[in-house]
Amino acid sequence: MQQLGMGQAVNQALREEMTRDPDVFVAGEGVGVSIHDNPMFPTAGLLEAFGAGRIKDTPVSEAAIAGLAVGASEAGLKPVVEIMFNPFFTLASDMIVNHAAKLRYLSGGKSSFPLVVRMKSGAGIGAGCQHSHNLEAWVAHCPGLKVVMPGTPADAKGLLKSAIRDPNPVIFIEDMLLYFVPGPVPEEEYLIPIGPADIKRPGKDVTVVTWSKMLGVALKAAAQLAQEGIDVEIVDLRTLVPLDKETILNSVRKTGRLVVLHEATRTGGFAGEVAAVVMEAAFDSLKAPLRRVTGPDIPVPASPPLERFYIPDEQQLIAAVKEIL
C-alpha cells in the first residue's frame, strides 16, 4: 500500500473529488502559489493540476474566505476553503458559526451549505500561541457544524472525501505535524463515513478516547503498557460531531475505565463532553475515576522545552492509566 503523510492524503482526496465533481473548488491563502515548496503539504501541485479557476488564492481575509464558502455553497458549488492556522478561525468564526451553521436552520431547511473548512492545527511547530491553539471544542459546540479530526492519513483521505460530499458544513481539522508522519493509504477509491469512531487498538483494561495527533501518543503508550501486561483499548473518535457515543460507551462498558487524551487545553476541552456522555450513560460500568490527559491551561509557548512541556506525551498517559488501574 502507498505510504503517505496526512498532507499528501488530503491532497489525493482533493484531487479525486475535484476530478469527480467540477463544482468542487479550493480557496484560501497560498493554496495555489505558495511560500512552501513541499510535496508533503496538502495543496501542493493543485494549481498546476486544476488551474487558477478552481484553485483560488485569496487575500489575507479570513472572513471573506469563509463567506465565499457560505455563499458559493448555497449556490450549489462545493467549496473547500482553508484557514491557515486554527487560531485564525476566530476571524472566520462569524461566517462559520453564525452563518454556515445557522442559515439552513433559519431558512427552515430550504437552503443548504455544503462546504468544507480545512484548518491546520496543532502545537509543535515552534510558532507560539497565535499559530497553535486547538479550538475543536469551539466548533463542536455549534449545532449545524460537523467536526472531523483525523489521526491517520488513511482516515484523513476517506473522511475528507465524505466531507466534500456531505450536504452540511464540515470543519476538517488537520494536525500539521501529521503531515510528516507517513502511514498506509489504500490505492483504490474509498470513503470513510463521518460519524463512526474507530477502535485503533482493542483492549480490555482501560479505554483511551482520543483523536488527531494524540492517537500516535496513545498507540505508543499502549505498546509500552502492553509490555507491562496492561491492555489498553484506543477509541479514535475521528469525528467529534456527530459523536459516536455507542462506540465510546461500549468500550467503557467493557473496560470500566476511561482516560481522555487531547492536545487542546484542559478546561473546557472536548474531554469534558466525553466524560459527561460516559457518566450519563455508562455510570454503572465505571470502576475508577476519569483521567484527562491534555495540554495544560496555558497558551502554547514558543521555546522548545516549554512547547514540549505543553504537548501531552506517552509518559503522562501511562501515568494516568496506571493511576486508575
Binding site: 479557476g53 455563499g71 449556490a75 453564525n98 452563518h99 442559515l103 436552520y105 427552515g108 430550504k110
Partner: protein, 320 residues
C-alpha cells in the same frame, strides 16, 4: 435612460406594497402578543428595494439584512408566507425558525438573510463567485446599511469582489443612522461611496428616494457586472422614518429632520410623475392601492389564522 412603463408600474407596485405591508406591521405590533420579537421596518426607504429589484432579473440574487421586508417583497417574495414568518407561524416561509429578522426566500433567489451587521457582503461575494464560476448571466445584489460599512467583513468582501471582478452590486442604503448613531457619529467620510476607490471600484451616490434614479443606477451596475467589469458600490441616500425598531422612541432623531424626509417620500414622487405623464390614471391608481391593500389583508389573515409550530419541530432542519 428611457425607463419602460412596465418597470415604472412594477416599482410603483413594490413601493405601495412595502409601505402598506409595513404600516400594517407598525399597527399590529402595538397589539401585545400579536407579533413576537423585534420589529425592524424600512418605512420611507422603499424606493431602494423597489428600484434595485426592478433592475434585476429572476435569476439574479439578493442578500439582504435585518431591514429586509421591502427588498424581499420587491424581489417577488410571497406576502402571505412572509407575513406568516414574521408572525412566527408554522406556515411562514421559514417555518417560524427565522421570524422577521432572517427571512430566507430561496424561491426568489434571496437564499439567506443575515441580521449580523456586515454578514451579507462576504456571502454575496460567494454567491457571485458561483455565478462567475458557472458563467451564468446573473448578478448578486448585497444590501447593507451605512453602519454595516464599518464592519471588517464589508472591507474584505469589497476587496475580494473587486480583485476577482465578481458580478456583485453592493447597495449601501444610507438612511443616516446606524442604531442611534448618526452617519457622522460612526463614519467620518461624508459619502460611503468614496470607500469604493480604495478597492479600485466605482462608487456612486444616488438619491435613494427617487425610485427611477435607483433603478437606472442599479441597471448600470448590473450591465457592468455582466460585462465582466466587476462590482459597483452604490450609495443610496435615504432616511429611516421610524426608529431602529418599533420599540425605539427615536429620542435622538430630530422631529424636523423626520419631517423634511417625510416630505421627500418616495411614493408621491413616483406616483406624481406617473400621473402627470399619463402612465397611470387616478382610477387605476386607486384600483392598484385597493388591490395591494387586499393582498396585505389577505397575508395578515393567513398569518393570523396559521398555527404556531409544534415545540418539537424546533429539532428539525439543523442538518440536511
Amino acid at each position: 435612460m428611457e425607463i419602460p412603463q412596465a418597470k415604472k408600474m412594477e416599482m410603483l407596485r413594490s413601493l405601495l406594497l412595502a409601505r402598506r405591508f409595513e404600516e400594517s406591521l407598525t399597527e399590529l405590533c402595538k397589539i401585545e402578543g400579536k407579533i413576537p420579537g423585534m420589529m425592524i421596518l424600512c418605512t420611507g426607504q422603499e424606493a431602494v428595494g423597489a428600484g434595485v429589484c426592478a433592475a434585476l432579473q429572476p435569476e439574479d440574487s439578493i442578500i439582504t439584512n435585518h431591514r429586509s421586508h421591502s427588498h424581499l417583497l420587491a424581489k417577488g417574495a410571497d406576502p402571505r408566507t412572509l407575513m406568516a414568518e414574521i408572525f412566527c407561524k408554522r406556515t411562514g416561509c421559514n417555518k417560524g425558525k427565522s421570524g422577521t429578522l432572517h427571512l430566507a426566500v430561496p424561491e426568489v433567489n434571496a437564499p439567506c438573510t443575515t441580521t449580523v451587521v456586515g454578514g451579507g457582503p462576504p456571502i454575496a461575494v460567494g454567491r457571485a463567485f458561483a455565478q462567475q464560476y458557472r458563467r451564468e448571466r446573473s448578478v448578486t445584489v448585497c444590501f447593507v446599511g451605512d453602519g454595516a460599512t464599518n464592519e471588517g467583513s464589508f472591507h474584505e468582501a469589497m476587496n475580494l469582489a473587486s480583485l476577482w471582478n465578481l458580478p456583485v452590486i453592493f447597495v449601501c442604503e444610507n438612511n443616516l443612522y446606524a442604531g442611534a448613531q448618526r452617519h457622522e457619529e460612526h463614519t467620518k467620510v461624508k459619502n460611503i461611496a468614496d470607500r469604493a476607490a480604495g478597492y479600485a471600484m466605482p462608487g456612486v451616490v444616488v438619491d435613494g428616494n427617487d425610485a427611477l434614479a435607483v433603478y437606472a443606477s442599479a441597471l448600470d451596475a448590473r450591465t457592468r457586472a455582466l460585462a465582466g467589469e466587476g462590482p459597483t458600490l452604490i450609495e443610496y441616500k435615504t432616511y429611516r422614518w421610524r426608529g431602529h425598531g418599533e420599540s425605539d422612541p427615536q429620542l435622538y432623531q430630530p422631529k424636523e429632520e423626520i419631517a423634511v424626509w417625510q416630505a421627500a417620500c418616495p411614493i408621491p414622487k413616483l406616483r406624481g410623475d406617473m400621473l402627470i405623464q399619463g402612465l397611470i390614471s387616478a382610477d387605476e391608481l386607486h384600483a392598484l392601492e385597493k388591490k395591494i391593500d387586499a393582498v396585505v389583508q389577505d397575508a395578515i389573515r393567513f398569518a393570523e389564522e396559521s398555527p404556531y409550530p409544534e415545540p418539537h419541530e424546533a429539532l428539525e432542519d439543523v442538518f440536511a
